[in-house]
Amino acid sequence: MKKDIVLAGVGGQGILTIASIIGQAAVKQGLNIKQSEVHGMAQRGGAVLAHLRLSSDAIHSDLIAPGTADALIAVEPMEALRQAESLHPQGVILANSRPVANIGDYPELETVLAALRAYPRSLVIDAEAMAAAVGSARAMNMVMLGAVSPFLGMPVEVLEATIAEAFARKGPEVVAANRQAFAAGQAAAKGI
């Protein structure tokens, strides 16, 4: 078993929360992990990136070679395009459609979304709206995690248990909202 996953977004959107839950779940599965993260810019609003590699064998490089990733999870649509070259031709793109338009020359959103949909295996969803519909727009990341879950080669129950642990401190309602957000993402990914 070997999965290479690229995560992309804008500083402050919390892509490391997604990476960390996948990573913890992989540890439970006895898998090896390497997770390369962008740190060091306290300022918000820049492009951020993480590489997450899971394998039952030894993992050598901390970085994923471009053109080889199994999945790209982007919580922002233009950031999905920025990292698209990391993807293997058969890889899947899972992108949130809500833009963070904090720059003057942000491209026309519909064009960006169309470019993403043109990839053979892609899913573009309004993760924020889906999260809001089940209780909390802040659970947007868990919608994205749910959407990628079928491509991780891991039992869903392990991911669900890890989500529950990750949010346990914040109380049962937060756990429930996040699990529902996860389920919503999972349902949306059916059929890719």
Binding site: I33, K34, H39, Q43, D62, P66, L81, N102
Partner: protein, 528 residues
């Protein structure tokens, strides 16, 4: 053994803790910051009473660490690569005094300059100071090298440099952690042989001879190091030297089955025995090293070697920037997937000041004052506020190294620039702005020093700032005239008053300090 998921930085920190660390000294800097932060968050470190407070700058940290080593205890000093420039005096001379308790000097390089002004390679400093260098290739090695490094340091009475890189420092992996912890060392500071710490020429000359004599033993220890490894391969048309994380990219490129003989190097000086074998058995040598071509240049020699040694200098690998698995695969002519052209829809998204950041209001006020003073030049410094160089502010003309703002403003004022303004953050000021301010006090230089006092070291994530709460006293203590020390609050409602005060001080023909004080909103938010 227990398994933890740790960043390279954290693995080293945990390794040091398990090896009986007594004190960590550091100034924050990407990608090294998480070493100290891990120790600060560690219950174990708290229970053991390990020292783990930030220092004012890297030189101070280096000397504090050396003091702990003098007293017989194990110390670790951490910084980013450019921090070693600041600490260099202490570092190079610590090689001459030698150490007592184990001393690790950790310098984290940032090739590709993700968050730095340059991509200097710390291994050169180890070579220059003539001390051993450890360069882990994995998080597990980073963990193990702490104990190994302390033992090496104590055995040879030398500081040991640990060189990290962004991709190891900031990558998380499973690390098997020992459950047996070494005890901390006992205090041992009254030993007469500590006379070697007095670097008077008569003693320093002796010490330096001794340091030169150690070199053969360092090389022998490299040959025996568990972190250096020779693995044979059938295809000797080319032999490979892979250092640090370069080794991982090599393994990735050949899916763990490199057909060439490979010398993996993670401990310097170079292991001569293994190196001689590789050079004797292989026609060409490919050198894969993160950062600058240190080993490659050594093998090539000053005149080049007719293309026998290959790497960054021959264009087989990129001359600048960090390595990656694709570049390494291509160096061996391995097939790499064709990549689609970058989408023209993708635009640059540089980092910005946070919404509500006090620096934004400070620049708004400063820019208004400068508008009517076209001969002004603004000397910037390093921190979140360096983003003031970008639109919409376009407010600063220089950013070189920490503390340079005040000294450059003074030099430019000496040359006739007026108004000459320095813009510096509070942490950068205590790091290395204070001494430059003292020069300006001495000559009553006609400069205005604008201190952006947000009470923290914001850029690296909000670490302590030693001037918090008494910046004006420090400036007055250095001798700035109290009537030319102003304290303003950078908020839109004070904009007009701030503009007026800044204008008055810019037009004053002597030294003035304007402290713009409001807390970083990120640290403020965290307290809530």
């Amino acid at each position: 053994m227990t398994q933890l998921l740790l960043l390279g930085d954290e693995a080293l920190a945990q390794g040091a803790l398990d090896a009986g660390l007594s004190g960590c000294y550091a100034y924050p800097g990407t990608p090294s910051t998480e070493i100290m932060e891990y120790l600060q968050g560690s219950r174990e470190a708290a229970e053991r009473g390990v020292h783990r407070e930030w220092s004012c700058n890297e030189k101070v940290a280096m000397e504090e660490g050396l003091g702990m080593s003098f007293a017989g205890k194990r110390a670790m000093v951490c910084m980013k690569h450019v921090g070693l420039n600041v600490a260099a005096d202490g570092f190079v001379n610590a090689a001459v005094t030698g150490t007592h308790g184990g001393l690790l000097v950790v310098s984290a390089d940032d090739p590709s300059m993700h968050s730095s002004q340059n991509e200097q390679d710390s291994r050169f400093y180890a070579q220059f100071a003539m001390v051993p260098c450890l360069e882990p290739s994995s998080q597990q090695e980073a963990y193990a090298m702490a104990a190994h490094g302390f033992a090496l340091s104590e055995r040879m009475e030398t500081p040991v440099l640990v060189r990290l890189c962004t991709r190891l420092s900031h990558s998380r992996a499973n690390v098997a952690v020992s459950v047996d912890k070494q005890p901390m060392k006992e205090l041992d500071a009254l030993n007469e042989m500590r006379g070697r710490f007095v670097l008077l020429p008569v003693i320093a000359k002796r010490n330096y001879v001794r340091l030169c004599e150690k070199q053969d033993e360092f090389a022998r220890l490299s040959e025996e190091s568990p972190f250096n490894r020779y693995s044979d391969g059938p295809d000797r048309s080319i032999g490979v030297i892979a250092t640090g994380i370069g080794y991982n990219y090599l393994q990735e490129a050949f899916a763990g089955a490199c057909p060439h003989p490979v010398l993996k190097i993670s401990q310097y000086p170079l292991p001569k025995r293994q190196l001689s074998r590789l050079l004797a058995e292989c026609r060409q040598i490919m050198v894969i090293e993160e950062g600058m071509p240190l080993v490659e240049q050594m093998l090539r020699g000053p005149l080049g070697d007719g293309g026998r040694t290959r790497g960054r200098l021959t264009g087989d690998l990129p001359r600048t920037g960090e390595l990656n698995p694709r570049a390494v695969a291509q160096a061996f002519g391995l097939p790499a997937p064709a990549l689609p052209a970058a989408s023209p829809l993708v635009k640059m998204r540089p980092p910005r000041l946070c919404d509500g950041c006090p620096h934004a209001n400070s620049y708004d006020a400063l820019n208004e004052v400068l508008k009517s003073r076209p001969t002004s030049r603004v000397f910037g410094d390093i921190g979140c506020y360096t983003l003031g160089a970008l639109p919409p502010y376009n407010a600063i003309h220089t950013c070189v190294d920490m503390g340079a703002s005040i000294a450059m403003a003074k030099g430019a004022a000496d040359a006739g620039v007026h108004p000459a303004v320095a813009v510096i953050g509070d942490s950068t000021f205590t790091h290395s702005g204070m001494t430059a301010l003292l020069d300006a006090v001495w000559e009553n230089s006609p400069i205005t020093v604008v201190i952006l006092d947000n009470g923290t070291t914001g850029m690296t994530g909000g670490q302590t700032s030693q001037a918090a709460g008494h910046m004006e006293n420090i400036c007055a203590g250095l001798g700035v005239a109290p009537e030319h020390i102003r304290i303003l609050t950078p908020l839109p409602k004070h904009h007009a008053a701030n503009v007026e005060a800044l204008a008055a001080e810019l037009d004053y023909a002597g030294l003035s300090v304007v402290i713009l004080r409001r807390e970083c909103i990120q640290t403020l938010r965290r307290k809530k």
